[in-house]
């Protein structure tokens, strides 16, 4: 049940409507926990009923209303409790790695295409996250500023450092994924050239612990580091 804690986390910076919440989740916490609009509204109602948040109904224009949610003391307590609670790990499930296990059953071209898409995907994330980490350290994000305003200045450094460290963890993850995909491309090159069939057959006896030496990646597969 992390959705509600993502919501509590955003609302702990500043009260806002469900609509704003969805947008902020998308562009702040969403880097780490995303949620769809159709999930958020019902969850807000449940949380309100349970006393974790409260809504102030505000007018907008002549006829319409909107509900601005803020944390109750119970909500803040729940956020702290959850953050300090030891996490139970759930089973690994990675569709791309599963797919890659069976790359021997597909044409080289298909495997290459998939890996280039993987590199593209994680490169985009890498840039977004890197930029975001910089913005956090520079304290340039509106929501972060709001958060700092209502916290003791003595805590500011910890707040900024923890958040930057988390996002930089995601940056590292992105680099690992890109690395892996590039090693995959080199492996495909080697297999296609028939270089491995002979090479590895020779020194089968001493089990290589790491990836066997592969020539640098080049040629039609592109996407070098």
């Amino acid at each position: 049940m992390s959705l509600r804690h993502a919501i509590l986390g955003v609302l702990s910076a500043e009260p806002m409507t469900g609509y704003d919440l969805v947008r902020y989740i998308d562009e702040s916490v969403g880097y780490v926990w995303s949620a769809s609009q159709s999930q958020v509204y019902p969850e807000l109602r449940r949380m309100e009923q349970e006393g974790l948040i409260q809504a102030t109904v505000a007018q907008r224009g002549q006829r319409a209303e909107k509900r601005v949610y803020s944390l109750t003391p119970a909500g803040e307590a729940e956020l702290r409790r959850w953050a300090a609670d030891l996490l139970a790990y759930s089973p690994d499930r990675d569709p791309l790695y599963l797919k890659a296990l069976f790359f021997d059953m597909v044409p080289f071209a298909a495997a290459r295409e998939q890996l280039r898409a993987h590199i593209a995907h994680w490169s985009r994330r890498l840039e977004q996250w890197q930029e975001r980490a910089d913005l956090i350290r520079a304290r340039r994000l509106p929501l972060l500023r709001k958060r700092l305003q209502q916290r003791d200045p003595a805590e500011h450094e910890a707040i900024v450092q923890f958040k930057a460290w988390v996002i930089e963890g995601k940056v590292a993850r992105a680099r690992t994924e890109i690395d892996w995909a590039q090693r995959g491309l080199r492996l495909i090159d080697a297999l296609e050239a028939g270089r491995l069939t002979a090479a590895v057959a020779e020194d089968r006896a001493p089990i290589p612990r790491a990836t066997p030496t592969l020539p640098p990646h080049q040629g039609p597969s592109g996407s070098e580091a």
Copy 2:
């Protein structure tokens, strides 16, 4: 819908019962895609109805029966089709990273405990995966051997190399997670000692792109690399 492809993947090595399948998923594909027993049986029935697999009812003992499932040609085609199909990426969702975003709200001790658990968790995985990668390269796994037996020897190298590469990708992931957690522990040490409050405040102007230099981790937090 990756569960059925994980199942197809295992059955493509060797026909087996649902019971065996659950065990093999747990210890082979499960390193990358896990599935619970209560998921597998109904899915097998559905796949049988759709003609992807077929069951041979075999006796066991006097009264009991068991259903041994094997791939149909349609099942193998589906496995190949899926493996070659470009993957759509789903949103990021990582409960620990979400939690870590709010470590400024918990006692240092609680954050440390969580990070040590993280290191322990991924260290275990690291060892398991490393060992598994070695076994794959040495071709010592029973199921892998069965798989190789029914494939053209010219394909053997590709089969082994792809699988080893995938697992080594997981090894790299584990290292990244451990690294990140260790940087977190050092960050906590620094925050606790009050070293960062002063240090970072001084050079706020030039935005540091990477993690600021931190002293090597030591003291009560343990768990050094």
